[in-house]
Amino acid sequence: MTVVITEPNDHEHHEHEHHDHKPGGIKRWLYTTNHKDIGTMYLVFALIMFFIGGAMAMVIRLELFQPGMQFVDPHFFNQMTTVHGLIMVFGAVMPAFTGLANWMIPMMIGAPDMALPRMNNWSFWILPFAFLILLLSLFMPGGGPSFGWTFYAPLSTTYSGDSTALFVFSVHIMGISSIMGAINVIVTIWNMRAPGMTWMKMPLFVWTWFITAFLLIMVMPVLAGVVTMVLTDKYFGTSFFDAAGGGDPVLFQHIFWFFGHPEVYIMILPAFGIVSAIIPTFARKRLFGYASMVYATASIAILSFLVWAHHMFTTGMPVFATLFFMYATMLIAVPTGVKVFNWVATMWRGAMTFEVPMMFALAFIVLFTIGGFSGLMLAITPADFQYHDTYFVVAHFHYVLVTGAVFSIVAAVYYWLPKWTGNMYDETLGQWHFWCSLISVNLLFFPMHFVGLAGMPRRIPDYALQFADFNAFISIGGFLFGLSQLIFVWVLIKCARGGVKATDQVWEGAEGLEWEVPSPAPYHTFETPPVIK
């Protein structure tokens, strides 16, 4: 791919001319329409939420350090598990990916900005308010949401606290934010590609986000629908999820997981895109099987609409339904396997180096695959009867979300940080961050498989004595993982303040439009579209 960047020609001076200097002060951030500013805000917000949600995880691990009730009462423990999940899913992982999309997609496709820049800023600024409402609800009389992040009826209807309405409306505005963000991404990719940036030349990060945005637009409204039904069931006397009125609590699970399963791919497809960018760079080889990667991503997205009830094998669905969902779920292993083999094949005989982004990407491949395999085990209906609602499930989804999604986000930040700040990050500290995270995260989540298989239920603040040693071990892993992330913050602050100047290409093997622009990337890039030949 050769790129011709034409010199910006200032033949036309519009009335509203672009300010090439950055506006100063707080107004820059409040009023901004710049995709890089908005991307930065998303990423900083996600990091803050990662620490708030992480602090709640620390409370959970503290309580579970020893059997018996130690520090918190069960109701507060339930609030911690619930809000930890909500914050990590909607406040940390999703905004972090949206931030990366904001920063990188316009630069990767040669667009001057996102397609709808003002709406972009609106999408972002809704989020802090949504989470403010959610966090404030914790201080309401009766406490915050305590029904698990999946808010199953009747826990969220008949048995929930007063503050449930606040939870419902905060989810509503989070959904509005996500939908607007997704519309922006999809329109940007569809309409703003530079001449010559054909569909099958797009970087995989752009492809995966395009498909993710489609999933978001399809399922976030369904989430809005189901929280609305929870609201009316709880406060207005409807009986969607109440059998006495002709409804069915299982209906809740169907609607929720119709949203919820595509949601987990929303949190992993962009990760696939990131890894598909990093592996070729540090293996100094073209990505193996580009087209198959695109088709695999699309297949996963389509299949994600057909597998939701694998979360519900123990609800007493008819056997025919469980069989359908079991086989459909296992089918997802095929396109996912295509991806993993493609990454491995990309590295085959590559001239590899092991900088921090590559280390996180490699850890992603191995550990995400472990999470995928435990997912395959959970997909087997008769086996799932045993694993359901145990720590095995907790281990599974933390492998795909922490060592999967979060590791990929961290890898992406290390990978593009020199482009954002113009400075190289501290490689030694970064390696420390990687190794501390890698070791502690496995101490944290791997033993959960064993206690889960042995029957320890999730979301319970106490456990049988035989799980004591493993839980102490897990908690120590948890605290170490939490502390390790402080190194990350240190690296970020240090890199933002200065360091060795990065070159435009930053990494020797990096290819793509974002590496053609200077480091740090100027406030406005590609005001005149580059020509890709």
Binding site: L30, F129, P221, A243
Partner: protein
């Protein structure tokens, strides 16, 4: 790729409206949450006021934001590419709206085809039926719930049929308004648009009348079991969308009176029309699935 001329894509410099909009949504969500909690606890609180304040700020934001956009559009800042961004954005927004309704249609399907039969003892649910509600009859419309709440079904003849005709005609008049715009027949455009608005308003009034009739005469209420739930939430959300669509069309009408829109460039008109046709299609699905079947 064919050779296109790439004009400079208009990226607005800075705008206060998004943050104002975010604050509006904060007031709305926080206010609505407290308002709902207040009414369920039968206490008075600040929720309702905060909700109203939120809507006021939202209206202020929308007016300011749209004024900026219209000014930019009228001063020729928008390229064809920009126009495509708007069109695609609107299309995807409508897709998301379709999915919102799908959640409720899906719930209706499940409740009627699956949950109701199971409550009647079919599949492997014989004991639920025998032990909990042995007198339950699984017939749709569900006029008697397993818990014993009784109600009456809304017939599809009469008002709903008239309303269906009104909405379909309003889509047709809107289409003729569009052809009027494209053929520079401003008279036809204004007349047909006005007619569409009047039909929309009639539909909404009849819908309100139908609700009163349901509550007063039929005993069909939001809380009278699964039939009432789905009836009121589906028709209610549809009604809200008609209201929103009518407000959008009203502003488009004012712009038409001011002489805005050309046969080539009329995205706002187009978007409003798409939205109106979309709520029309939702109604047809609703009429068939909720009322007739």
């Amino acid at each position: 790729m064919t050779t296109k001329t790439y004009e400079k894509y208009y990226v607005p410099a800075q705008s206060p409206w998004p943050i104002v909009g975010a604050i509006a949504l904060f007031f709305i969500a926080f206010g609505a949450g407290h308002y709902v909690i207040d009414i369920s606890n039968q206490q008075s609180g600040f929720g309702g006021y905060l909700l109203l304040l939120g809507f006021a700020v939202l209206v202020f934001m929308l007016v300011g934001w749209f004024r900026n956009v219209i000014d930019e559009s009228m001063s020729g800042l928008y390229s064809a590419q920009m126009d495509r961004s708007f069109r695609q954005g609107m299309s995807w927004f409508i897709v998301s709206e379709v999915m919102f309704f799908m959640a409720f249609f899906g719930a209706l399907f499940y409740g009627r085809v699956i949950a109701m039969q199971w409550l009647g003892g079919s599949s492997n649910n014989a004991m639920t039926f025998e032990l909990l509600w042995p007198n339950f009859e699984p017939v749709w419309p569900l006029v008697k719930t397993p818990g014993g709440i009784e109600t009456q079904a809304m017939p599809w003849t009469g008002l709903p049929l008239i309303n269906t005709a009104i909405l379909i005609v309003s889509s047709v008049t809107l289409h003729f308004a569009h052809t009027g715009l494209e053929q520079q027949k401003r008279g036809q455009l204004k007349l047909m648009l006005l007619l569409t608005l009047l039909l929309g308003a009639t539909f909404l009034s009849l819908q309100v009348y139908e609700y009163i009739h349901a509550y007063r005469d039929l005993g069909l209420r939001l809380d009278s079991g699964f039939y009432g739930n789905t009836f009121f939430l589906l028709t209610g959300f549809h009604g809200l969308h008609v209201t929103l669509g009518a407000i959008i069309l009203l502003f488009v009408f004012f712009r038409v009176l001011k002489g805005h829109f050309t046969p080539e460039k009329h995205f706002a008109f187009q978007a409003a029309a798409w939205y109106w046709h979309f709520v029309d299609v939702v109604w047809i699905c609703l009429f068939v699935i909720v009322y007739m079947l």
